[in-house]
């Protein structure tokens, strides 16, 4: 048989302990496990047993691309970082983290689909990969540098066409909330894999490739790409590219409420400067590889750190807007996010830690003397620079915070821990990630939406609800003149009906509140969440962008119905393997079950799929409430749909064998006996 297109066919395995580099064939794993998250889950199932801790040398740090990377397929710049996550709390477990930018195509062009990094180097090293060969090189002179400096140093050695994934001080000091950064702000944040890289004494992975990825049906790929461009890019809608904020055009990202390059700055000092042509500040759209949208901004100015920032980084320090209300979004707000990038700290986690510290200080649970932080002036540059420095260097109180918000809260205990639940919704052994979109409009002021609660209860990191399901809700809100924060369920449900019918099979799926408006309707929660996880698994395995795909909501048409066939069409065109939408969902079901089996092996049970009490106690803005019984009933329904045992939430042996995961079934059985 002719080899399929897309995959380049080799996985690089690097053992840092004995400095051995070897290769595995990608076709040992694909097409069954697709790539990205599916591939990573399989490798972890085979190689990372529950006894292995995240910082142990035996843990695997996997950088996996999918079949689409390095090709014309829109948003194919993304890849996944996988392995046992140190941020998952209290139990370390398998986790995933997606990264955009331009690193992934370079790895494919260098001839590798994925990297498996294991062991621990005796001294700081970095990895240099180019055109089918790899070298472990000394990084003692890079150790201690910030993420930008380290990249510049590597570019001097290997040329500036080299793309680098690099850790900062936080990663070197094995922080559980350390990120791995590439270029000026694309990063693997959630999961804390920067700490894993630090624990392996690996400072950076530099990649440069001049090879190519073969596409099976190039012409077909061009056609689908043209269709996708038509849906997402501004030019195709005949608008004026010279006018950045044109009326009437809606980008199909986040439901159409945001524009090109508009995800960085909020109104305030810095945006005013950027709009002033005589100033040396500017904000320009910046695209990930092969992306037709370019939703991020590159912000420049004489006295700020240049770079792109995504929502997490650029909205990390909104406290500064309260501290200096007259300035609004100021240079400090921007620079705080960039400082986190330079140290290599996950900004999304800081979005929980900072307000939590503020709450604890207000309740007099922590003091300035005890923490060594100027807690009186949260929002100032003095506070954030000292906080980030302490976390990155694990200095004093920063040592506790470097363990992540959830672990820090557990350490302080008592009321401080309870206060953290506002930011960390999931209870049980697999909590540990921040989220606020358990409610539409955010907790605690928004509205309860049953599928959101179920999604969040079932996942093992933040459920990324903001990236496909919730953007559909937001899209409906924008359509009726509301926004992400002011959306009201009664108003948006009529808009959602045709969309939900197309995606989940029934208009009823949109009606998540009872007709009397007094309570929630959980009927469709489980089927919606099943499909949601399948979509999520597929986009992380093919790999396409979290924000563009699945394309559920069309902001520029009358009925707003999107198109969920795009990803499988891209896959078919690139690989030449036929994949229709229905088959892709079956594949995703298999991969979701594999991921669940991994979690179960790490100790997850039905009891851990639960939210903190707070989320059942509080009435939402419409006077409705999540009820424990409803969530439990939906969980049972979900497990049954997936073929898992509803009593324990464990995939049954029959299901695993039906899905072709015999080795997993046997492995689970062996563990139990």
């Amino acid at each position: 048989m002719r080899k399929p297109g897309g995959w380049v066919g080799r996985i690089l395995r690097v053992d840092l302990t004995d400095r051995r580099i070897s290769e595995v064939s990608t076709f040992d794993y694909v097409p069954k496990f697709l790539g990205g998250r599916g591939l990573g889950a399989k490798i972890c199932w085979d190689e990372v047993p529950p006894e292995v801790g995240a910082f142990d040398p035996e843990n695997r740090l996997i950088f996996a691309t999918g079949p689409l990377q390095g090709t014309l397929a829109p948003t194919s710049g993304r890849f996944m970082v996988l392995g046992k996550s140190p941020q998952a709390a209290p139990t370390e477990s398998f986790c995933r983290s997606g990264v955009g930018g331009h690193w992934a195509p370079e790895l494919k062009w260098a001839g590798y689909d994925a990297l498996i990094i294991q062991g621990r180097a005796s001294n700081p090293v970095y990895l240099w990969i180019t055109d089918k060969r790899a070298e472990i090189l000394d990084a003692s002179r890079l150790w201690g540098l910030d993420t930008y400096q380290a990249q510049r140093a590597i570019w001097k050695l290997h040329g500036n066409k080299t793309r680098v994934m690099v850790i900062g001080r936080a990663g070197e000091n094995r922080s559980r909330i350390a990120s791995i950064l590439t270029d000026s702000g694309d990063a693997s944040g959630q999961g804390g894999f920067g700490g894993v890289m630090g624990s392996k004494n690996l400072k950076a992975i530099a990649v440069r490739g001049t090879g190519s990825v073969t596409v099976a049906r190039p012409k077909e790929l061009m056609e689908i790409t043209a269709t996708i461009h038509k849906l997402f890019s501004r030019k195709s809608l005949r608008s004026n590219p010279y006018e950045p904020e044109e009326r009437g055009f809606k980008y199909n990202i986040w439901g159409g409420g945001y524009g090109r390059g508009s995800l960085s700055l909020l109104p305030g000092e810095l945006l005013d400067l950027c709009h002033d042509p005589s100033s040396q500040y500017s904000q320009t759209p910046d695209g990930c590889f092969a992306c037709p949208v370019s939703c991020r901004s590159h912000v420049k100015g004489p006295d700020i750190t240049h770079g792109v920032a995504f929502c997490a980084q650029s909205y990390m320090y909104l406290e500064s807007m309260i501290h200096q209300p007259e300035k609004g979004y100021s240079k400090i707000t921007w620079q705080a996010g960039k400082l986190a990038d330079l140290y290599g700290i996950n900004a999304y986690e800081l979005m929980a830690i900072i307000p939590w510290l503020s709450d604890c200080y207000r309740e007099k649970l922590i003091t300035e003397e005890q923490t060594g932080l100027p807690l009186k002036e949260i929002g100032s540059w003095n506070f954030i620079s000292r906080l980030l420095h302490k976390i990155a260097e694990r200095e004093g109180f920063g040592d506790i915070l470097a363990e992540g918000g959830q672990r820090a809260a557990a350490k302080l205990g008592g009321k401080a821990e309870k206060l953290s639940w506002l930011y960390y919704p999931r209870a049980g052994k697999f909590g540990g990630f921040r989220e606020h979109w358990v409610y539409l409009g955010g907790f605690p002021t928004g509205y309860a939406v049953p599928p959101l609660a179920l999604m969040w209860a079932l996942d093992n990191r933040d459920a990324l609800v903001s990236h496909s399901f919730i953007s559909m809700l937001w899209g409906a809100a924008f359509t009726v003149g509301q926004n992400a924060l002011t959306a009201v369920p009664e108003k948006i449900i009529p808009v959602l009906k045709p969309v939900m019918k197309a995606v989940y099979g029934s208009e009823k799926a949109a009606e998540f509140i009872q007709p009397d408006g007094k309570s929630l309707d959980w009927t469709w929660a489980a089927p919606i969440v099943k499909r949601y996880y399948e979509h999520s698994m597929l986009k992380d395995s093919y790999i396409v962008c979290d924000i563009l795909f699945p394309y559920l909501f069309n902001a520029n048409s009358a009925d707003h119905v999107g198109d969920t066939t795009l990803e499988s069409k891209l896959f078919s065109a690139v690989t030449g393997l036929e994949m229709n939408e229905e088959e892709s969902y079956q594949k995703a079901e298999m991969l979701c079950t594999l991921e669940r089996a991994l979690a179960v092996r790490d100790g997850r049970t039905r009891k851990d799929d639960i939210l903190h009490d707070l989320y059942f106690e509080k009435e939402d803005a419409g006077g409705r409430r999540y009820h424990r019984e409803d969530l439990e009933r939906s969980k049972s329904q979900y497990y049954r749909l997936m073929g898992w045992d509803p009593r324990t939430g464990t995939p049954t042996g029959t299901t695993l064998e039906r899905l072709g995961l015999k080795e997993v079934a046997e492995g689970l059985k062996r563990r139990r006996s």
Partner: protein, 201 residues
């Protein structure tokens, strides 16, 4: 008063006319020099891709669509006939297009006349006939004397040089550029662009 203005206008007209005539003669002479090694004249390209870097977001779609379209589905930036030079930390992006030079150094350097003028679709673009190319890379060298990086590139796998041929009048990079950075400028009379009008880029 009115008369004087009129006279001035007439004088102006004369002067402009004289300059115009002179320039036509110059261009005429100029065209004489633009020749193949075998003495055949080189026509000016009737189309050229222009880039407005201020709009560029650095997504590299232009590069990858070019490789996908022109290299039989081998997707790689190193096979692209348009090159995106990026300075990532500073956020400076510069699409480097082939200028379809008026006096093409690449064309004159080719020892086997693999570099030719496209006639079928009437773009008069400077193209490489793959069947004739011997992969000596003299065109790459010639171009890089003025333009860096060189616009003709070497395809390591096929051992042939590749070059922008305007996709026979419908450049895919222009079609797929999502931000309108690239556009195609056309003129039936031919465009005086690239070397020697500009001598570096």
């Amino acid at each position: 008063m009115t008369r004087e203005v009129e006279r001035r206008t007439v004088l102006k007209g004369f002067t402009l006319g004289a300059i115009g005539l002179a320039s036509i003669t110059t261009i005429g002479k100029f065209l004489q020099i633009l020749t193949f090694p075998n003495g055949q004249k080189v026509a000016l390209a009737k189309a050229v891709i222009l880039a407005d870097r201020s709009l560029c977001s650095g997504c590299r779609i232009c590069e990858i669509v070019c490789a996908n379209f022109n290299s039989e589905g081998r997707n790689s930036a190193s096979l692209s006939r348009i090159i995106l030079e990026k300075e990532y930390l500073r956020g400076e992006y510069q699409p480097k297009v082939c200028h379809q030079c008026a006096d093409p150094p690449c064309l004159k350097a080719c020892p086997v006349t693999a570099l030719q003028i496209e006639r079928q679709k009437g773009t008069d673009a400077r193209i490489i006939d793959e069947r004739v190319c011997i992969g000596c890379r003299r065109c790459v060298e010639a171009c890089s004397q003025y333009f860096k990086p060189s616009r003709p590139r070497f395809d390591e796998e096929k051992k042939r040089t590749i070059k922008c041929h305007l996709c026979f009048g419908e450049p895919q990079c222009v079609k797929f550029c999502p931000l309108g950075v690239l556009r195609l400028e056309r003129s039936e009379r031919g465009l005086l662009v690239g070397y020697p009008v500009i001598k570096e880029d």
